[in-house]
């Protein structure tokens, strides 16, 4: 029912209240004005009535004097004077009353007065006129009283309705004012008190304004503005809190990084120390290897010489047997000789067998050294891997270090490969020496057989021919074996030479490794120094 522009804003509400009170006040004022004009009318009527009553009293006294004069037979002049006075009064009354009835009554009174004033008539006639006049006066007096009573009742009625109207308007006005105070207290005072409390208590009390925020009027706007303001305050607070948290987190991360860096530095230093130690140990191991290899070389040469000599002797045996077979006559003698030669050959073979055993022993020692080198190379490789990981964790600062670690790793790999080569050579040596031992044993057996046969030659002449054939073939096979043995020995010698080359390579590699380890330590020390300077 409200027009569209009406939002219930304070000014609009005031206009409504003002219109309501204004209507009541205008009503009250118009009531008052009507009352005032009515009272003025009544006052005028009363004033008129007073004048009327006064003239009536004067007329009554004049009438009494006339009556006395008539009854006391006073002289004509006296009566005439009084009658003139009464005439004046009656004409005044006529002017006041003005009604037709009153006029006719006054006319009758005038006529009665004329008769009273007629001294030619007798006294009785005049007295009857006097009585007539008196009756007329009573009627007039009653009419006056009646009009006064009417005036009074009108006055009283007006006063009563005036009182009632004013009382009711005033009560209604009080009711409206009370309602205005009550409603405006609810609509204006209480929300303002709430807002003050919200402002005092801060953003967490802003929910108190939820109801006010949905109003259409200024209080609604104010409540929404306050809610928005406190929302912004809350957001700012949260942002500051977040920023502080992030800063402390960043500081903690930096601390962590520094601690990690210190740990990394000490770990790198340890790795470098170990690496240096390993390089040194590898260097000495490879030197040992070189020594052992040259020793093996020497022994192989000696063995070859010995074998050559055995071969020569075997050839001599063969020649002797040939001699035996061709010259049967000198068999016994030759058999005796053969026995001596075979004894010498057995001695030589024994020596060759010993040499082969020593060679096997040397090969085993080399293998141990190679295993040691291999272990060292593996450990170095592991260390290089660790160093690479640590370098990656150190990031930019560990890049130089990573390059060095890669070099170390490569060296370790190369070392490992070299030792593998050596091991291959050694295996060749070992198998060759085993084969030498086998053949030497077979040689010993052959020589013993030769010895046996030589012994039996002396006693068994008849089997000499067959035996000498067997011997010849056996000797030939022995010579073949010896040739094979010599070949094997030459191969061993070349293998040992290879091993020596490999050992020399290992030595070179390990010296490189030592240099790289030193470089690594220098890099780490520089890194440590730099990080400490940065940390400081």
């Amino acid at each position: 029912m409200f027009p569209r522009f009406f939002e219930g804003q304070v000014a609009q509400r005031l206009a409504v209240w003002g219109a309501m009170l204004g209507i009541l006040v205008s009503l009250y004022v118009s009531v008052e004005l009507i009352h005032a004009s009515r009272m003025t009318e009544i006052g005028r009527d009363i004033e008129q009535a007073g004048v009327y009553v006064k003239s009536q009293v004067a007329a009554d006294s004049a009438f009494a004097r006339i009556a006395m004069a008539v009854q006391g037979d006073a002289g004509q002049p006296v009566v005439e004077t009084e009658i003139a006075k009464l005439r004046d009064l009656l004409s005044a009354e006529l002017a006041l009353i003005g009604s037709d009835e009153a006029k006719s009554q006054l006319k009758a009174a005038e006529q009665a007065l004329d008769r009273i004033n007629d001294f030619r008539q007798n006294t009785n006639a005049r007295i009857s006129a006097l009585v007539e006049l008196r009756e007329l006066r009573v009627v007039l007096n009653e009419a006056v009283a009646q009009s006064l009573a009417e005036l009074h009742s009108r006055h009283v009625g007006l006063l009563a309705s005036d009182r009632k109207n004013k009382l009711l308007i005033a009560l209604l006005g009080l009711f409206v004012i009370g309602q205005i105070i009550f409603l405006e207290y609810r609509w204006l005072v209480k929300p303002i008190v709430r807002m003050a409390s919200v402002l005092r208590n801060g953003d967490y009390a802003v929910r108190m304004l939820d109801a006010d925020a949905f109003r259409r009027d200024e209080i609604g706007s104010l409540a929404r503005a306050l809610a928005q303001h406190f929302g912004m305050v809350h957001k700012d607070k949260q942002a500051a809190l977040d920023e502080r948290e992030e800063l402390s987190g960043r500081l903690a991360r930096q601390d962590e990084l520094e601690r990690e860096s210190v740990v990394f530095q000490s770990q790198i230093a340890d790795v470098v120390r170990l690496l240096e130690g390993h390089a040194g140990r590898m260097s000495s191991a490879s030197e040992n290897l070189v020594t052992i290899a040259s020793d093996a070389d020497l022994r192989a040469a000696a063995s070859a010489q010995t074998t050559m000599r055995v071969s020569g002797n075997v050839d001599v045996v063969a020649t002797s047997i040939g001699d035996i077979s061709s010259a049967l006559a000198s068999v016994a003698e030759d058999a005796e000789k053969t026995s001596q030669v075979t004894a010498a050959a057995r001695l030589l073979v024994q020596s060759a067998s010993d040499d082969a055993k020593a060679l096997t022993e040397a090969a085993r020692t080399i293998e141990q050294v190679i295993a040691l080198i291999h272990d060292v190379a593996n450990q170095t490789n592991l260390l290089a891997l660790n160093a690479t990981i640590e370098a990656a964790r150190a990031g930019e600062m560990g890049r130089g270090f990573a390059v060095v670690a890669a070099e170390v790793k490569q060296l370790a790999t190369r070392t490992s490969r070299a030792t593998e080569d050596i091991r291959g050579g050694l295996q060749g040596i070992t198998s060759a020496s085993v084969r030498i031992a086998e053949r030497v044993e077979r040689l010993v057996a052959s020589i013993e057989e030769v010895d046996e046969f030589a012994a039996s030659i002396a006693t068994s002449m008849r089997k000499q021919d067959a035996n000498s054939r067997v011997i010849t073939s056996n000797t030939a096979s022995t010579a073949e074996d010896l040739r094979n043995f010599a070949e094997t020995l030459q191969r061993v010698a070349s293998l040992v030479g290879d091993a020596k080359d490999a050992a020399q390579l290992v030595t070179k590699v390990s010296s490189d490794l030592g240099k790289q380890a030193t470089d690594l330590r220098t890099a780490v020390e520089r890194f440590v120094e730099t990080t400490q300077r940065i940390a400081a």
């Binding site: 029912m1 409200f2 569209r4 009406f6 939002e7 219930g8 509400r13 409504v16 309501m20 209507i23 009503l27 118009s30 009531v31 009507i34 009352h35 009515r38 009108r154 009625g157 007006l158 309705s161 005036d162 009632k164 109207n165 009711l168 308007i169 009560l171 209604l172 009711f175 409206v176 309602q179 205005i180 409603l183 609810r186 609509w187 109801a211 925020a213 949905f214 109003r215 259409r216 009027d217 609604g220 706007s221 929404r224 503005a225 928005q228």
Partner: protein, 190 residues
Amino acid sequence: MSMIAGGRDERMSKDKGTALPRYAIRAYRLPAKVFHWVTAVLVLFMVTSGVTMKQLGSGPVADTLFSIHKTTGVLVLAVVLLRMLYRIVMPDPGSDRENYRRPLLHWTLYSALIAMPLLGWAGISDFGSRGILFGYELPAIWPQGAGWADFLLETHAYLAFGMLALVALHIGIAMQDHMMRARDAMRNDD
């Protein structure tokens, strides 16, 4: 009013800082509005004419006012009866709660608006002055000279002011409902 009855018009307020979605609430039908404001004007006129004529007491002006008051009273009675009929036959869309109706207050006001003219009519029937404007005369609804005239007309006057107090209450409550409306419109749409 261009609003479609029962529809919601979601316009946004212009000021961004204190934006508040504004909902056009279910509007009264045009006849209901016309009835309301015609009744309001008539009641205002009845009160002022009644008080003035009583204050004048007698005289030609007072007599004319009496006639006008009686004639208008008959008009008020007719308008209010039609209005009640309209409200029963053609209720506004939506429930009283959605429309922020105060049915108790409204029907009390309707009763007062019916009782007032009837009391006045009975009073003048008893008193014997049923003449209205243009020389017509109202039919008597009360025996003439039954002696209740003063009582009936006094009650008429007191009831008039009682009804005015109700009208003041009605205005206050209507403003309250109108002002808080946005909140409940939003709450309903949650």
